[in-house]
Symmetry: D2
Subunit: 363 residues, 4 copies
């Protein structure tokens, strides 16, 4: 109720602050009998962890996940699965100089006002460190979805004004292999080079830049999503907008769809060679009436530039007096490369939840 | 759980099909002691109802709302408030010819597959008629918010590629007066003329067109929104994306923020003349860390073109055979003028919920 | 959240006051494809309605239920099912004399203090009239359970100090036939006579008396109930305790189990002739570790005497001044005969919910 | 949803198996600004821990709780509070001999059937070890309630057929002092002696015995509890029934109330000397219409005898073959002395939740 749980049937509850003892998550509702591949879960976390390349923060956290409950002899038992990630590199002193001032476009001011108390160390609960717990839980959701053949695939589709061309996804393996060959996680190698160079130049200026992540869900069966409020894209939208720094979400034709006519936008139904039903175009983004229609699900997420910059900025302190702030600490010049596994994790949590929910749609 | 409830503390549950007996809503959690202005609620419904102008569907429904419970001597009692809107103009025969075919970009195919049964009359539950119940409930939420001085204000900011300039809102009354002076509900009179003319031409072609609604929340106190999953903008996003035909949501800098640098995007804190704290710019859209910061909340919602067009289209039937469909019935050439009160209603439901939730943020 | 919803997957939300326009319920989460037998639902309501015999209140309400949504061509569609029961015999004037005083052991004082406002007509929302909505929803739950062979069977097992012997249930039909042959709804005809005579004498004294309802659930499969908080008996207990006038709940050995030794209380597992597994005794009441074990589920519900008596009583008024109150209106001398269908309805709602939940216990 | 969460606004989610790495709990929704007394929390756990006296299991667990998040400089911050209790004395081998057989009146058979997999070590999730997490969370709830002057007080009121007389509670301190002076936790010293002797004799026979815990809530304000389904006593009932081994719950007059007449059972309102409103008797147990009325809240909880006995018993194995089982390991001859803090913890969780909920009952 206080906002730290997500999902209805595949339900997670997360905890932890940036510089506390540990962060973690409880997953309640995962069916019994799922094989738990801990290496896979750790691998997903490794894609999110800091310090992995020259275009991410140089802060180091090994982010080793440990399962405390709910798994017995390698399988889920139907009981809650607790996962914990200890915090390591807690250089609180990097943040000591900002105790009394509100960092621009951070959550310092709103937390202090809402709660009357604020754990200022590294942003406390408002730090994006919290998303590691989502990635761990999302990895388990992915393992569940894989048993149904559903694959969640995201990549960086833009950095600043540099946009990647649309990608065509033949196989999940190939997509991931290409994407992981570059540090910006763009599935188009040529654009990736351009993006990396641009982020590096931004970093050298002590500045940051925004970007977009595109996500595709492959081989989703027809029927996932619950009208009227829990439409599949509404839950995906909430999931994405709950990620730090996200300012926009669109699916299918998205914002550009608002400029189109019905006669061009309507997706004509066709019967495929194998007897299945599809549509000629996919402006619906794989979702009609809030329910998956068997076509690829496609959506895009817009991230604002990271607020912490290595430049001096004016601000105010807790008493409302003018103050100056200069970025210290170690931060990301662009958040999207590390956001890719987070977007995938949140999408997986939504899909796993709706897959379970859909099992009760018919008698 | 099955998707027909929205909100946690100010919680609504809706019911009803397009051509059933009635639609309606139960509001649970409205505090006792709120004055219920039934004329105001009916007035909000009148803005959504069909048949109100030449650019909306010519279908006629008087949409008279009736309160069945929860109000005593003009005040809420703390018990559930049920509101019902009987269905009137149920020309099911207009839809009879489409019983066996799946209308392109409608929910026919997904409902039929998910549930194994489909109320085909006018789209059944998937019809936008369902949003009338949201508007009735949202009107009550607005009355609650007005006791706190919070105003929700939306208008049509684009139709197809016609975009209104940004509006400056001095007073809620003035904004609403200007907006209601034109049938497209755009707060910029000059652009409104252009939009109306365009929609009328689209209508004559038997086609439809998309558009965007912009929403502003005025005088929202600091502190609304619950990290980490129930960030205020995440709940607003889900609310908007749950409205029929919505394909995108952005707040503050939105998608364009993904192209900006941190040094230009950061909103510098300032102390206002009255001692309150604000920010120089508002790229954060009034929300930081998922919590309202006292600045105006600003977001934008993209609607795809209405799927029902008065042109012949190819499709398939329930057996997967090729079929042809021709639009009959009476539909909107552009949904956004009637979507304005729906966007406001959903925003009000989110704000009322988070206002109640925030009362427990501190001891 | 405000307490007017019950269940997680088979979820009901009720509304309505004793003397308002109508009472009703929305059921969300009933799977599509269930045959809806409206006569059966009405029949269940008829067992609860007032004025059915000399030992119930003489107030008359026909309690005709109407389905507004969610059912198409006789089957559920997977969308919310709204049911409404208009209020008829609203003799508010019977209650006018009690506007300003707090009736002893009623909810007048607590409602007035909690909400600051009170619909005094017939107790408003606190009236047991609200349970009609539960019976309607419970009847649908029973129809769902019948598709799985599960039968819910309750009867009056005590009135005051008159106790019926334990009944042996061979078939549901037979049990119900015997039970419905007497107006007190006791499955033991001899005890029924005694109970009826006693209630009648109590009624003539203008007094009331309490009693107990025993409930059996036949042919429940193994596996229903979710540890640790949503144990099957915990949810049954909450369901029963939420019924007006209930003061106690026990299952299996119940309170007497607290006096027993482990060596006598343990239910020894046996293999039945048909290969199924059962237990020699059933002190566990069909539930072990919060999960049904395939044995008959057995529980008992204690009802206090009705608070409205036809005798003069001292009390205080809204200003705290001494006052006197004399019962008028038409009330039940003993609530248990009409409580039988309510107990069954609430049990059915719990079982339907857990039957749906259990479908996701395994991959 | 899968049953491991409890509460709406003060909401806990627990995890952990008897012989896993650790057990723990996340509390979401505790308001910011509460002083956290870790010694108090540990002290509550110490009352529940095994090995504390000759009449409890001789198993040793130090049960040291650690707070991982949500507390900063000794105060709650409004973010989720994670508490963890590592498992120590995990003598799995004590249980190894029972891997393939279903222990009578345990949850082995139901878990194995429901989930298709079972962590047999010490009962896994079905072990009462899980309640330690409840006690830790409940201790925090008690600290919250103490800021409002509300005290939760329980004691052992019966063991087998030995019943303590009713206690009169003048002060919380005194009650607790008397209760903690004997190892059976009965507030009547004379009866305590008798109980201890009886339990000790039962233990020597390798048998177990049931008992009852009575609970009083002192100085609860008027207004807690939400009609109609979340009546205060309904939530208390569910809370108690969710505790391992509980078979019955009653409040106020309870089961004996079902034998009374309205004229004797009605609690007459009176004005106290200090101007407050009370009732002459308290058959309502401090709750009317599901809402606290300011009188002491009183309820009673019945525990069955512990299922593990040190005697040989017949049973069946996983293949349905006859088997024999003999109790090994170290178990409690009577569960009620260690159940007292669990009953108090669950009561505190319900009260804290409803105290928060009630803050929104009025505008």
């Amino acid at each position: 109720m206080a906002g730290n749980s997500f999902g209805q049937l595949f339900r997670i509850t997360t905890f932890g602050e940036s510089h506390g003892e540990a962060i973690g998550v409880i997953i309640d509702g995962c069916p019994a009998g799922l094989d738990v591949d801990l290496d896979y879960i750790q691998g997903e976390l490794d894609k999110r962890k800091p310090g992995q390349s020259k275009i991410t923060t140089q802060r180091k956290e090994s982010d080793i996940v440990k399962i405390l409950s709910g798994v017995f002899e390698g399988k889920t038992t139907g009981t809650p699965i607790a996962m914990i990630i200890p915090n390591e590199d807690q250089r609180s002193k990097d943040y000591g100089h900002n105790v009394d001032v509100f960092r621009p476009s951070h959550a310092d001011y709103t937390y202090a006002t809402k709660y009357g108390i604020r754990d200022h160390r590294g942003g406390g609960r408002s730090s994006a460190r919290e998303t590691a717990a989502r990635v761990a839980a999302g990895a388990l959701a992915k393992l569940l979805l894989k048993t149904q053949g559903i694959e969640i695939l995201a990549h960086v589709s833009s950095v600043g004004t540099i946009n990647a061309p649309n990608v065509f996804i033949e196989s999940a393996e190939e997509f991931l292999e290409v994407r992981e060959q570059n540090i910006v996680r763009c599935a188009d190698p040529a654009t990736a080079e351009e993006m990396i160079e641009f982020i590096d130049s931004i970093r050298k200026q002590g500045d940051t830049v925004g970007g977009k992540v595109s996500c595709y869900i492959k081989d989703c069966p027809v029927g996932l999503g619950d009208p009227v409020f829990d439409k599949l894209h509404a839950d995906l939208g909430k999931a994405m907008l709950s990620i730090n720094a996200v300012h926009g979400f669109e699916f299918g034709s998205g914002f550009s769809g608002s400029e189109m006519r019905g006669s061009e936008h309507n997706d004509i139904f066709i019967k495929n060679a194998d007897g299945s039903i599809g549509t000629r175009t996919n402006f619906s983004g794989g979702i009609q009436g809030g329910i998956s229609n068997g076509m690829p699900i496609e959506f895009k997420v817009a991230f604002k530039p990271v607020a912490t910059i290595m430049q001096s900025q004016q601000t105010i302190d807790g008493e409302g007096n003018a103050a100056e702030i200069s970025g210290k600490g170690r931060h990301d010049p662009c958040v999207v490369p590390r956001a890719v596994p987070i977007v995938e994790a949140m999408a997986a949590l939504v899909l796993a939840d709706h897959w379970l929910r859909n099992r009760n749609s018919k008698l």
